[in-house]
Each structure stands twice: as C-alpha cells, then as structure tokens.
Symmetry: C2
Subunit: 352 residues, 2 copies
C-alpha cells in the first residue's frame, strides 16, 4: 500500500512534525507518517531498495529481480461491507507487489491476537485470507502467532509480507512520470473508507456502500500485456488519490493536473463525503490503482481495464505536466484550478 | 523462531484444546499454539512449504532456493537486560532463516504503534534494529507503520519477515534426525526468559542475568563450512529446549535422550528457576541453536561453535535413538529417566 516505508522514503521531504509522542496522525499515510518514517526509520535502515521509495523494495538475487513488501493491518471493525481484516491483509500485500509490476508469489502472515478473541471469528478471518490468496494465486508460506493480554490489542492485528518476481524489462517506479503522460484511475473513489465508516455506524444512516478491496495483480498483468509504456503504478490507499498523486509528483518532479468532472465516484460515496465534510480525493481505496502511462497508450490501457471486473469504471482523470513541479492541481468543472495537497493529519484512523 | 507456523505445521498432531476463546496459552509456543495453528491456519493456508513444518518456508524461484519466514514480537517490557523488542525482531527472523541453513539477506518490518508512544523510545528501537541488521548483514528493504488508539496496543509491536537464499546441497529439516545422531546445544539454557522476567521485577531480587539475543547466521555458516553431516537446526525460543526437541522427535519419528548433567546453565538462571519453580528446559532462548549432527561429526561441530562468541558454552547434551518414537527423555544424574513433554499452557506470556 502507498504507506509503505519503501514508498514514503525520500518521496516527501517535509519538516519533522514538532511532536514527541506518537499521535493518530502518524498512521494517516499523510505528512505525519512521512515525517515519522523519514526521521526515524529511513536514516536507520537506509539502503538502495528502501531509498527508491516505492510500494515494494526491489532486489536482485542470482539475476532474478524480486519485489519485497510489508504491511500491518489494524482496521476497526474487523468485518465491514465487502471485506474483513484477513482479506485486507492478503490484498494489501499482493497489491504492493503488483504496483511494482511484479507477479506476487509468496506471502507471510503474523497474527497478534488479544486474549479472549472468539475462535469462530479467527476461523472466518483465516478462511477469508485463504479465499483472497487463492484468487490472487499466492501461497502463504510462513507465519507466526502471538497472544497479548486482554486490553493490549483490539481483537486481532495481522502483519503480512510478500515476495514477487519481476519479468525482464518491467521498470515501474514513482519517479518515472513524464510530462504529457496520462493519469488513469481504475475505478471509483473512496468506496473502502466510506464502507468502513458505515460499519462503524459513523454515517448516521444506512448507506449501501461496499469496500472495493480486491487483489489487483490480474489487472496489472493485463496492462503489462498491452505493451503500453507504463511509467508508474500505485494503489491509492491511506491518504487517498490526492496523497498518492502528490507522492508521484514529488518523486518524478512533475506537475499533475486532475479534471474534477472526470473523477469517478459513486453517488452514495459522494453523498456521504458531502455530509461528513470529507474530500473523496483523500479517502482510502483498497482495490484501485493509479496508472501513469504514455498518452498514446491511454486508450489501450483504459480498454483492458474496463474489460476486467475490477476496472469497469476506469477513467482518465488527469495529465502530467512539467509544472508546477511536485504539485497536484485540480481543474474544477467551472474552469478554476486549486492545489491538491497531501493529507496532513488523520482523516480516518484504523481504516486498514 | 520455533513457533512459526511453518514449524508447528504438522509437526505436532495434538488434539484440539477445547476452548472457544483465545487464551494466553495459545501464544506459548506449546501445545495450545500447535493446536491453534493446526486447527485454524494450516487447513486454510495449506501448501508444501508450510506443510514441511520448519522454521521457514522453502520455495524455488528460477532454480534459486529461497527461505521465507515471519515473526511478530510483543515482548514486555520493550527493553530488558541484553536487548529490546527491536533487536528481538531482527534476530528472531534472521535466526528462523539461519535454522534452515539459509543465508539471511532481506528483512521487512511492520510497526504497530500505540498513540502516545514516546518518540525517543521509537528512535532507540530503530537504532537497535539497525545495529542488529548490520551485525547479521541483512537489509531492511520494506516496512509499514500503523498507529492504534491509546490502550489498543502496549506501546509497540513489531512484525518482521525475512528472505534468505539456500546454497546448493544444504538440506536441513526437522524430519532429518537419525538414530545415533548427536544433539548439540550452542550455549546456556534460559538466559532470555529469565532476563525478561527480571526486567519485569518478577524475580523479587536483582539477578545479573542478560538475555542471549543474538543473530546466529554466522554460527550456522561456520557449522556448514565444516562439511559436517548437519541434519537438523532449530532455535529453542518459546517453549524452550524441551518443546523444540519434542517437535524434532515427532517430525523425525525418533527418540531423543538428554543427559541432565550435560545441560549448560548459568548458576544465576538455575537459582532463579529453582526459586520460581520453573524448569529451565522450558524457558525461552533467543541466541541459542540446537544442532542434530552425525555422531562422528559432533566434535568438529563443537569445536567451531566454541570458537565463536555465541557458541562458547556449546555442549553435547544428548543423542537420538530409534525409541521411544516421538518422545524426549531426560537421564538424570542419578541414572533415572523421565519423559520431557512439550510445554502445555503458558509459562511466561509476552516473552518475545
């Protein structure tokens, strides 16, 4: 997911937030998360794979290029419309690998269980992970379980890591966006975030909104098969499309201009966001990808995306320009333009 | 560590504990942990690498054999004599890979942080991970951070996963122990568990006991270089030497006989165990390995172990026999023999 250390690496050189304690905002996937990683983890763990600042680290082993990624999952509640923490744990890591153009192969799973957790709930989570792994065609080859005392966790946390292999010639990187490129979003905005909110009862009404959680490796394989000049792939999870595009704009040192009227969004999600005062550009997605491709290939890519169940609502949402470097602009339907910044604090805690 | 799913796989076909809620014992690394994994995770995730039941899953990618492992760390307190949760997280995963005879190369780290956690503490943990990774010569190539609300974690949990490569010809497996083999322990028993207890103030007195946490990959490389017929390697973490040897006895369907007077143990650890009523055979170690080798190679292996700082107290503690199949016996100094069973419930919660 876009909050992985590898992605936040040097992508976002922001001032250190002046706090000496961890706050929820440090988990937002936004500026505070970037600061935390840039200040505490990157200097300590620094290496080329991490510094590259993508969704997964790339290493070469006996001429085989491997993508390696990691994710921890603390979503609350554990079950929500369209998914659960288990499906999230598998799809999140599968998607991190897929966003490098890698074929996901092997996953690991570490479970932190709270004393008193219901076994039948655990069984449902394991089955959900099994089903997601089958669909994504990955194997869970190692794992671990720990138990903490009542009150020392919130039911169940799952940390997954993944290993995938990159075919020759695949070179997808957050720094590869070029002026003139097309920016494609594979479907509607914000479904996951609003679905989790509704499961928390925070909407105040019953919305028929389902999370978009899905493994995206098949979708990525379909794009690669077109032979399109695919420059950047990223899944807009925590921090949403706005934060993810800002990261790309900064890594590639380009400007990205979005067309408001081109942004695909479900009416129910738009209504919920309006009611709650949320901008859907900042809401987490778990089954969507952003693809930056050469403009002449945009139509081809849109065609294969729309032919797939997870890309039916794919849309060309913007273009890459030389200016303003490192920034994202939104052209409104009335023609005005506003700067779209990264998420600052915390919008929705425990969303994944 | 020896509690990984891959190890507990089918190694220990025990009856399902009749509980419908998670209890601390499910994190013990003993029977309840085995039951949990065997009942809920193995059936769902079943695949050859997992079924093999070792410390890490082995997969083959373009003719390269990879070892993949995972571990979650919830030790309390976060700092204790000789180490901290960060050093534990790195060494635990490095050792899981090393116990397969693999050369550890890449690690991932997923952090679950509690709101309100002190940043300076986080910095110390990151530096500790950096130092451990340097010593083990591994790179942390991907990671993730999540934050949960105050009271929803216990400061900080770290989940690590690791990837290592196996040289040709290396075939170390829990099922390879053969009658006549020698059982070697690389050092003293129980240092880690008692060190953590003392940090909790549970000893009631000040003991000068330091955790043995250490990366064991160099020690394993030294054993491999001797060309000794190395059949099984495993690190006796949760559940201790007793539980780990039971797992090997069951996987290999052999009997293991220990000589009580050959077990290396520090006087302070022995005193603490006697006072608390603990059997040191069940106390967790974090920098020790058990090696099952052909008897004619035992002296050679002991020599290289004792030449290394992490193997100075290495000892030949027992032998492998055909009978009693799947059991471990302890020959006491007065010549009597008693059965050494696996750890049943929970001895020391949150020890790693």
């Amino acid at each position: 997911m876009s909050e992985s250390v590898t992605m936040q690496g040097l992508a976002c050189p922001l001032p250190l937030a002046h706090t000496e304690k961890i706050v929820l905002g440090h988990g937002s996937g936004g500026k505070l998360s970037h600061d935390l990683i840039k200040t505490y983890f990157l200097p300590a763990f620094d290496n080329p794979a991490l510094r590259a600042g993508n969704d997964a680290g790339i290493v070469t082993l006996d001429a085989t290029r491997l993508a390696i990624s990691a994710d921890s999952h603390v979503v609350a509640p554990l079950f929500f419309p369209g998914g659960d923490i288990g499906k999230l744990a598998v799809c999140g890591t599968v998607n991190d690998l897929a966003m490098m153009g890698a074929t996901p192969l092997y996953l690991t799973a570490g479970f932190i269980l709270e004393e008193g957790l219901d076994m039948t709930l655990l069984a449902r989570v394991a089955e959900s992970m099994r089903d997601a792994a089958r669909e994504a065609q990955v194997q869970i080859v190692a794992g671990d379980t720990k138990v903490v005392q009542r009150g020392k966790a919130d039911g169940l946390y799952i940390s997954t890591a993944g290993v995938g292999v990159l075919r020759d010639g695949v070179n997808i990187h957050g720094a590869n966006a070029q002026p003139g490129d097309a920016v494609i979003l594979s479907g509607t905005l914000g479904d996951h975030g609003i679905a989790v909110l509704s499961a928390r009862g925070d909407l105040g009404f019953d919305a028929d909104i389902v999370s978009d959680i899905a493994p995206l490796n098949e979708l990525v394989a379909a794009i690669l098969e077109t032979g399109a000049a695919l420059h950047v792939l990223r899944d807009p999870t925590r921090g949403g499309v706005a934060t993810t595009l800002n990261e790309i704009a900064q890594q590639s040192n380009v400007g990205i201009v979005l067309r408001e009227d081109a942004l695909p969004i479900r009416p129910a999600v738009a209504a919920a966001c309006e009611m709650l005062g949320f901008d859907p550009l900042y809401i987490a997605n778990e089954g969507k990808l952003l693809a930056v491709v050469a403009s002449q290939d945009a139509e081809r890519v849109l065609r294969v995306l729309r032919a797939h169940k997870y890309g039916a609502d794919a849309a060309l949402i913007g273009i890459v320009q030389a200016e303003p470097r490192g920034r994202v602009l939104l052209k409104t339907s009335i023609g005005s333009a506003r700067v779209v910044d990264v998420l600052m604090g915390e919008l929705l805690p425990r969303i994944c």
